[in-house]
């Protein structure tokens, strides 16, 4: 067991974990943050995307021990980052544009979209598609996902 301390969605947590425990397992099984989902389990699909020290990562491809000392934001803590008790603008845009079909990829899509807009506040459609290339939607609902990101960027086509 290895002792880890980190901040998850604004709350400080500390736990003894097996070194082999994946960050996504830690979030879901220890902290109950099941908003972050496990999709492919092979680091392909991006459904488990969270922010680690401010940048997007696939939490099925990070060990919990590697996140020791870090700050993690999951889909569950995203709204709180706005500080006004409302949904994050990207969450709101996904709702407004119906950027989902079954909804399983949505947590990862939203977390990656937030990261994308942080680096490029006014992306073109192509830049959005490239920026989300690590996130798969098995319903193939990409069209409205891209529209949602455009909407959030204030540049709805």
């Amino acid at each position: 067991m290895t002792r880890i301390s980190l901040t998850v969605d604004g709350a400080k947590v500390a736990d003894d974990v097996e070194p082999r425990m994946l960050l996504v397992q830690y979030l879901r099984e220890r902290l109950g943050k099941t908003g972050t989902v496990i999709g492919c389990d092979t680091s392909n699909c991006g459904a488990c995307t969270v922010h680690l020290d401010g940048t997007s990562v696939k939490s099925c491809n990070v060990l919990a021990v590697q996140a020791d000392g870090s700050e993690v934001t999951t889909i569950e803590g995203l709204a709180a980052t706005t500080g006004n008790g409302e949904l994050h603008p990207v969450q709101e845009a996904f709702r407004e544009c119906h950027g989902l079909q079954c909804g399983f990829c949505t947590p990862g899509m939203i977390m990656q979209s937030v990261d994308l807009l942080k680096e490029n506040p006014h992306p073109s459609e192509e830049e959005i598609r490239l920026g989300l290339e690590g996130n798969l939607c098995r319903c193939t609902g990409y069209h409205n996902i891209v529209r949602a990101v455009q909407h959030a960027a204030g540049a709805e086509a």
């Binding site: 290895t2 097996e18 070194p19 082999r20 425990m21 994946l22 397992q25 389990d41 092979t42 680091s43 392909n44 991006g46 995307t49 680690l52 940048t55 997007s56 990562v57 696939k58 491809n61 990070v62 060990l63 021990v65 590697q66 020791d68 990656q112 990261d115 994308l116 490239l130 920026g131 290339e133 690590g134 996130n135």
Partner: protein, 283 residues
């Protein structure tokens, strides 16, 4: 999928990492960003008893200017390399290759040195490193040594890094003002390249004075397309001249056949992508 159980240390200096490696030898595996290793561990294709994490060694991160070369710390994430102004100015080929390496999340976490040490022949950094004439600085029990790019890639997933050694930094000789392009062929998003070509050229008055070309996934290691380089030297940067030179792209290659394409298909791709890469680099 969960990896088999292992012990874990996260040393904060290269010396401590080397000591851990010396102690555990064959039973240990080094983790850098983990973007290749963790899937391997999860699928239980490998089950080391000890994992040594280099992620806490600050001295292995960052890009610096060192006179006639720029030096990239082995633990510098791809996303940092890709946006670094020194890399853009002096090793544009690396910036081009990193731009479309894997996907954004992997680029945040994966590292320059980790990817090179992993030595996947389909990896995006080997061919640019070869083309640029990179030097690999490797630390071991007896101190540091430097390995030339031509000697670094030994075979499939195998480099000149010894079992008791760690890659600490990569020196990229400055090729300031050279045109550069990385042309990669994939069928679906964030796939490994079926074939890719890294080209960097120095053009003087419309003539290609010097060209350096690297091939991805055309053999068990990244390869230099020396016959193309020689054919290009002194040629005008025109479509016809480049097309003729690119016909040499398959000399000395031994491409694999797999579900993505057979060896003949890859040879065809190599010629086409080489032409495209050189023309883009020269424009």
């Amino acid at each position: 999928m969960i990896p088999a159980a292992f012990d874990y240390v996260a040393p904060t200096s290269v010396e401590d990492a080397l000591a851990a490696l010396a102690q555990h030898g064959d039973d240990a595996k080094i983790i850098a960003g983990g973007q290749s290793l963790l899937p391997v561990l999860r699928m239980r294709l490998n089950a080391p008893e000890m994992v040594i994490d280099l992620g806490r060694i600050e001295s292995l991160r960052g890009v610096r200017d060192d006179g006639d070369a720029i030096v990239v710390g082995a633990m510098t994430p791809h996303s940092v390399v890709g946006s670094d102004p020194l890399v853009a100015q002096h090793a544009a080929l690396v910036a081009k290759a990193v731009e479309h390496l894997a996907d954004a999340q992997v680029r945040h976490r994966g590292t320059f040195g980790g990817a090179l040490a992993h030595a996947d022949p389909a990896g995006d950094l080997g061919a640019p490193a070869l083309a640029l004439g990179a030097e690999f600085v490797v630390a071991g029990p007896g101190g540091s040594r430097t390995v030339a790019a031509d000697d670094f890639f030994v075979d499939l997933f195998e480099t000149a890094i010894g079992e008791d050694e760690i890659l600490t930094e990569v020196r990229l000789p400055k090729r300031t003002g050279w045109g550069a392009h990385y042309e990669k062929f994939v069928r679906v998003a964030h796939q490994w390249p079926i074939v890719a070509v890294a080209a960097t050229v120095r053009v003087e008055g419309g003539v290609i004075a010097e060209a350096r070309i690297g091939l991805t996934n055309m053999g068990s290691t990244p390869l230099r397309a020396r016959a193309v380089e020689e054919a290009l030297a002194g040629q005008p940067a025109t479509e016809d001249a480049v097309r003729a030179a690119a016909e040499h792209a398959t000399e000395g290659t031994n491409p694999p056949s797999d579900l993505n394409g057979d060896a003949d298909y890859r040879r065809h791709l190599a010629r086409v992508l080489t032409r495209r890469a050189i023309l883009a680099a020269a424009s």
